[in-house]
């Protein structure tokens, strides 16, 4: 009896604590961003000027919002065919056996590699290839970052997908086969409609991860605080900017960085919300 109560209070306590911490973080960001908002208003969001020189200080988030969205969406597009194939391979075609379990461990391994190691790999291995292909003079930029991001998010995009694909009821598939459907037709008409929302949820999770990724991007994107003119141009993302400039920031620059953090938080929230809406539509 007593232990039941304690257990309950513990559960309630830890649940409430998490809510408080989350609200506290949002409150801190809000309070920290107020001076910047007072100075620049909504212009902060669409201004492309980032000038930290004293006396000429002017901050705008647009280059970083664009950089963040372009790198992560491009990464998701690159990762999509791979993640989807892996999901199908592991969820439907080869559920058991040595090869699939080996593949599964390799994908788990990808998720476990620290992002700074991805950055190193991109810097020393991928960059020379990009330069040799003549895509861009120094090998840095949005495209290079997106490729590395795409590899980083494969585990997130594929594992949830393979999970839900393997959970599609066997009776449905068997019914389709008995009607003479080929395997491809089963995938198209039974598996995708059934597992669609779960597969999609995986992509949203992956996109969220790509939006927040910092270290690997910092090392590869070129950190130019201008609006990129194309996918092979240099750029910068919100997370990378904060990581770079936080150390020596003070005054207006500090509060502008906090506002960037708040915007990043909002963007991630909006992306997750849109994802949930689409998932609802798909599963309805």
């Amino acid at each position: 009896m007593n232990s039941e109560k304690i257990f309950r209070y513990l559960l309630i306590g830890s649940g409430v604590l998490i809510v408080f911490i989350a609200l506290g973080i949002i409150a801190t960001l809000f309070v920290g961003a107020i001076p910047s908002f007072k100075e620049f208003g909504f212009g902060f969001i669409y201004s492309s000027d980032w000038n930290p020189t004293q006396g000429r200080e002017s901050y705008g988030a647009l280059p970083f919002i664009i950089g963040t969205l372009v790198t992560s969406i491009l990464a998701l597009l690159i990762t999509f065919p791979f993640a989807f194939s892996i999901s199908l391979f592991l969820g439907e075609y080869f559920k058991n056996g040595k090869l699939p379990s080996f593949l599964r461990s390799v994908i788990d391994l990808l998720a476990g590699i620290p992002s700074v190691v991805y950055g190193l790999w991109g810097f020393y291995a991928l960059r020379p290839i990009i330069t040799d292909l003549g895509l861009n003079a120094q090998g840095f930029g949005i495209f290079t970052s997106s490729i590395v991001l795409a590899i980083m998010i494969i585990p997130y995009a594929s594992s949830l997908g393979s999970e839900v694909i393997s959970m599609v009821p066997g009776s449905l598939k068997e019914a389709a086969y008995s009607l003479g459907a080929t395997r491809f037709e089963v995938v198209k008409t039974v598996i995708i409609p059934n597992a669609g929302s779960g597969i999609f949820a995986g992509y949203i999770l992956a996109l969220g991860r790509a939006i927040g990724e910092t270290m690997a991007v910092t090392m590869l994107i070129g950190n130019s605080n201008r609006i990129p003119t194309g996918i092979f141009d240099l750029g910068n993302t919100m997370a990378s900017l904060i990581a770079n400039q936080f150390g020596e920031a003070e005054g207006l620059k500090y509060t502008s960085l906090v506002e960037i953090g708040l915007l990043l938080f909002i963007i991630t929230g909006v992306v997750n919300y849109i994802g949930k809406l689409i998932m609802k539509k798909l599963s309805a």
Binding site: N2, P52, T53, F123, M219, N223, S224, F246, G247, E248
Partner: protein, 355 residues
């Protein structure tokens, strides 16, 4: 059930311990100092780490230094959570006015910012101030430009695009570099200015000295600026730069030290860039420790104040200064040591002089 009780007891115990820890920190004014804490610039950190370690083992006093950046060092001193701060840029009059009480600057050693580049055949290049402006502002975009060749006769310059590499993180290195550029170029002064982070018209940003050096090393045709202590330690090829007297000076411990030979104000707050010393390297700078003039703040004990000043006094002594070159910094010239000692003698505790 027993498990939950155990867990609860543990939680309560932890809560009690943390609350006790808080109240135990109050210091009586007569207490002996056990540890001295400082924080700030990362640029002189290898030097500070070395001398503070030596001092700690000699005096049986723990000295800790956190390399959190000059801005962080100033903030920590302002919040009165450290015994001393450290900064690569001296505090401006406006910043000094923001501090809770009077702050003193004590220079500890000198460093420089060097221009490093990656060219085939590794030629030794010379740059004038005009060339520096042209290259780093994106007006000169190719190594085969006649303006570079005019200053570097007899050197085979390739037809190769110039890639400028700068620090993406806020840095004292960028501050010193831009301070020099603003002094020698009006275009730079008006359009880019001086600061720890800048709005760059061209180039790639990389994080930290290792990031910039790595990017230069990996990119043919790249040029960037690096802290001298890092470039010297790594043996990176660097350019000679023309100083105010018209001499091309190769950065070295001697030429950086020589930059500090000129006139110096009594509070030691002086920018050495574009020095008028004829043998001085033009992009040199002091790095400073900063302390409060009145050492009785936040319940610090008298001994804490005495030990802090003793430590700093030792850092500018010949004993500590001879360590500078071992970690690739330049020692203070005699004139600077004299001024620094004079500044230290102003320190007080409850209004009474310490030394």
């Amino acid at each position: 059930m027993k498990k939950f009780q155990l867990l609860l007891t543990a939680l309560i115990a932890i809560a009690l311990m943390t609350s006790c820890g808080g109240s135990g920190k109050e210091k009586a004014s007569t207490e002996k100092a056990e540890a001295i804490t400082g924080a700030g610039a990362t640029f002189p950190q290898p030097f500070y780490n070395k001398i503070f370690k030596n001092y700690s083992s000699e005096k049986d006093l723990i000295v800790t230094y956190g390399g959190i950046g000059s801005g962080g060092g100033i903030r920590s001193l302002k919040d009165e959570i450290v015994d001393f701060g450290a900064s690569d840029a001296f505090l401006t009059d406006a910043k000094l006015a923001e501090m809770p009480s009077e702050v003193l600057h004590i220079p500890t050693c000198l460093g420089a910012v060097v221009a490093a580049y990656n060219l085939p055949e590794k030629p030794e290049l010379k740059f004038t101030a005009e060339l520096m402006e042209g290259i780093f502002m994106g007006k000169i975009t190719n190594w085969s430009d006649v303006r570079i060749a005019a200053v570097n006769p007899g050197i085979n310059l390739p037809d190769l695009a110039i890639t400028v590499v700068y620090r993406s993180d806020g840095s004292g290195t960028t501050f010193i570099f831009s301070d020099y550029m603003s002094k020698v170029s009006t275009d730079w002064k008006e359009n880019i200015g001086t600061g720890k982070a800048l709005q760059w018209p061209v180039g790639i940003g990389a994080k930290g000295n290792p990031g910039v050096a790595g990017t230069i090393g990996q990119t043919l045709g790249a040029i960037g600026y690096i802290g001298s202590e890092y470039a010297f330690a790594q043996g990176i090829p660097v350019a000679s730069i023309q100083n105010l007297a018209g001499n091309f000076i190769h950065p070295s411990v001697e030429s950086v030290s020589a930059a500090a030979k000129g006139e110096m104000p009594d509070d030691t707050r002086v920018s050495l860039t574009n020095t008028d010393a004829s043998d001085g390297y033009p992009i040199s700078s002091f790095t400073w420790l900063i302390i409060y003039k009145e050492q009785n703040y936040k319940n610090r004990s008298f001994d804490q104040a005495v030990q802090t000043i003793k430590l700093i006094d030792w850092a500018i002594s010949a004993d500590a200064q001879k360590e500078t070159t071992k970690v690739h910094y330049a020692p203070l010239p005699e004139s600077a040591v004299t001024k620094a000692k004079a500044v230290l003698s102003k320190v007080t505790y409850n209004g009474k002089a310490l030394n």
